[in-house]
Assembly symmetry: C2
Homo-oligomer: 353 residues x 2
């Protein structure tokens, strides 16, 4: 099978940034988007990786996504603020919001910043790392276009509404990052692109029947994880990132695939917590290391070679792929190559075979 090319992460990132700059995104913001997407590929979460570039440039071309992110302040107080993203790229809007949340956390101990009129922000774990790199705890969530039925219903209304939480350690941060669906919608999109089937239990079709057909699943509903519990969490993600933010919520978030000419008006909520307001930072990190060591040392379940903490797999993959290169699907490579050609940009990202 030769359906991927080995590409260099840093050159891929530069190429993606150049494409975005070519579409009118300021260089500093383009670097953030490229970093977020390439980081997803580095951690083998390809569903949120550079396969999204075409989706973003299409949004910019059609008008639903504003290449310039000028956050308009709506409210501001000691620990809180809310902004109107004016239809910016969601990654940039959420990045800027988390920077403000971190500043507020330095002042009062916590910052919570919401954003409305935003677009798809890809992987929320990206913003958590901003907090953990500043020795803070991070919490982030975003609502998303309807794809999932609330518990008790067979009609889609909630998005996959991802959220993430993270904490720093002496080494790699511990980051819990999940969609509130059984699986991220991006994984079904990727399966559909590849023409692959999906496991049973991930989704129901438009009539409410279980399906393993990725295309039918995209027409139907992804299911919440953990039944009523995942559904309840998806609801609260919508309360924080949708209703509190003053963004659209539930079934009202725009579908950027059907209508790339419209802003999604999804919302994000970003929180940072200054650990030193509670205890000594070194002591906190020592305990996180003890926590990690103890968990990894527990008796393993059958068939498990190593107990992994949340985020550990991502950190390991990042190191490996930074050194060895990213396996980029040929189809995605082709999309980026075409975009570069259109914009008359050089495109040289493959490693020697």
């Amino acid at each position: 099978m030769n359906d991927t090319y080995k590409v260099d992460a840093r050159r891929l990132q530069a190429a993606v940034a150049q494409i975005l700059i070519g579409k009118g995104v300021p260089a500093e913001d383009a670097a953030v988007v490229a970093d977020s997407l390439v980081d997803a590929d580095l951690t083998n979460v390809q569903s949120h990786g550079v396969q999204r570039v075409k989706f973003y440039t299409n949004g910019i071309d059609k008008g639903g996504m504003n290449p310039v992110c000028d956050l308009q302040p709506l409210t501001d107080s000691a620990s809180c603020a809310s902004y109107d993203a004016q239809c910016a790229l969601g990654i940039v809007a959420a990045y800027k919001a988390m920077k403000i949340a971190i500043e507020k956390a330095r002042e009062t101990g916590i910052g919570l910043v919401t954003v409305r009129n935003s677009n798809h922000c890809s992987r929320v774990a990206y913003f958590i790392r901003m907090a953990t790199e500043q020795n803070m705890l991070g919490i982030a969530c975003s609502n998303a276009p309807k794809s999932m039925p609330p518990w008790g219903s067979r009609e889609k209304y909630f998005g996959t509404n991802p959220f993430a939480l993270g904490a720093p350690t002496h080494g790699d941060p511990v980051i819990v990052d999940m969609a509130t669906s059984v699986v991220a919608r991006g994984k079904i999109i990727l399966a559909d692109k590849k023409g692959a089937s999906i496991p049973e239990g991930w989704a129901i079709d438009v009539d409410g029947n279980p399906t393993t057909d990725a295309a039918k699943a995209l027409e139907g509903c992804v299911l919440p994880f953990g039944g009523a519990k995942g559904s309840g969490i998806a609801l609260m993600v919508d309360v924080f990132s949708g209703i509190l933010a003053g963004a659209a919520f539930g079934g009202h978030i725009g579908n950027p695939f059907a209508h790339p000419e419209n802003c999604m008006n999804c919302g994000h909520a970003l929180m940072a917590v200054d650990i030193t307001r509670f205890q000594d930072l070194e002591e906190f990190k020592d305990k996180m290391e003890q926590f990690r060591t103890e968990i990894k040392g527990l008796k393993r379940a059958n068939g498990v070679n190593e107990i992994l903490l949340p985020g550990e797999n991502s950190s390991n993959n990042r190191r490996k792929n930074l050194a060895n290169g990213i396996d980029l699907p040929v189809a995605v490579y082709g999309e980026l190559e075409e975009l570069s050609r259109e914009l008359q940009l050089p495109f040289d990202i493959r490693l020697e075979a």
Copy 2:
């Protein structure tokens, strides 16, 4: 079947408060504990109801639980504070912490208060209602004695680590409240008391085999909900309520059944968010009502008569049971009657048959 007595909620609450006062709990704090426990029974969450009274009085008698809650301040800043509960009853410690979080939220928009050296705080949703009654969003979590294996392990290390989030509306609050286990440990304790079996998938026995025997499940492990996702959430609950709070975490939390003479040293984290720092309160509540109406109006899944929002069932049960009385298991009635007799208190809580 006549294994329950119909009792009056307010008389039950008064009786429980008097028992606690008899054990040295100040009247104001006893009222809080009684209110929390009876509220659980009112909402048909008997696992966290007055069946816990004997457990608390035993903790006080044996010395692990301090009947007096004098929160010692450890750190204090604009939006944050941490306290040492000095082995108080967890309900009282968490109640006082949430009151402080609400005060801080009034000042800065958010308050996050942690508590260490605490004991079992029963249902975390109780503290959320304190926030929603003040027109704030609430978040609360607590760690708990080990009963659940981290993902990839067959050895218990995490507690069932419950958390809850809630938002006010024009009517009943929307409250998401869950243990990070498939099921609350209290439900297995209750099944064991009744001699009932438990459904498959709830727990594994001490050797790692699936079991439907409640007693064996209590020796073994309750499983996390949603697999790796629930396990990750349990871990982050431990980070916030255990490690950040400076309480015990993971497998180090004391087991109050095996050692009622020791403080559990579990921890709690309580957060309140002032909605008005983000938008107009009436507008927020209007949108919550729209959210509720839309969700309830979706196409129902097969066999579902009504789509319920998180907390809706509790609110409905509370109204019904306040009017009609609580069905209290005879065994629990007997425990309370005996405690009242020991303390030479009147005990008259049954409604006419």
